[in-house]
């Protein structure tokens, strides 16, 4: 998966998200900043990002997705 594709997929669900990616192929790290994480526990925020890549994580197209979630400001 390309970094552009990762960003597009996240922004389709979280339109306000700022997405910074690093890593390559099937092993990515993303830092996502979105107002929708406001007031949520880390587990819930990570779940929102994991859910976007549910199929890829299940079938191994993505082996690992390292996630950092932040709120703006």
């Amino acid at each position: 998966m390309s970094p552009e594709k990762i960003r597009e997929r996240i922004q389709a669900v979280l339109p306000d998200a700022q997405v910074v990616t690093s890593g390559e192929d099937c092993n990515f790290a993303v830092e996502v900043t979105s107002g929708q994480f406001e007031g949520k526990k880390p587990l819930q925020c990570h779940r929102m990002v994991n859910d976007i890549f549910k199929d890829e994580l299940a079938d191994g197209r993505l082996h690992a997705l390292s996630i950092k979630t932040k709120t703006p400001g």
Partner: protein, 115 residues
Amino acid sequence: MSDQEQEILARIDEQVKNNPVVLYMKGTPQMPTCGFSSRTAEALVNTGEKFAFVNILADPLIMEHLPKYQEWPTFPQLYIDGELQGGCDITLEMAESGELKKMMAEANAKQQETA
């Protein structure tokens, strides 16, 4: 859901509820076989608190069905006091804030009281 799947999910549930702190990981804390499992186990060891672990590579059925248990797609997975905390990233954040040691200590103390 197949009988086998139900049986495995029941086994996971028992492990999670019977251990105050349990880490599902690839390999062991001494011999981790994945970078994420390695960093997570190290964070737990560094708290000095007791924890249980399950080497999912030694138990392929658990590895296959664990993602369905709490709808969490990746490994490692950390459970404290019966509740999923998250994977490597969240555990490291909790370790940094000091929350990890606190939660582990509380969960361990709670079990001793009831034992």
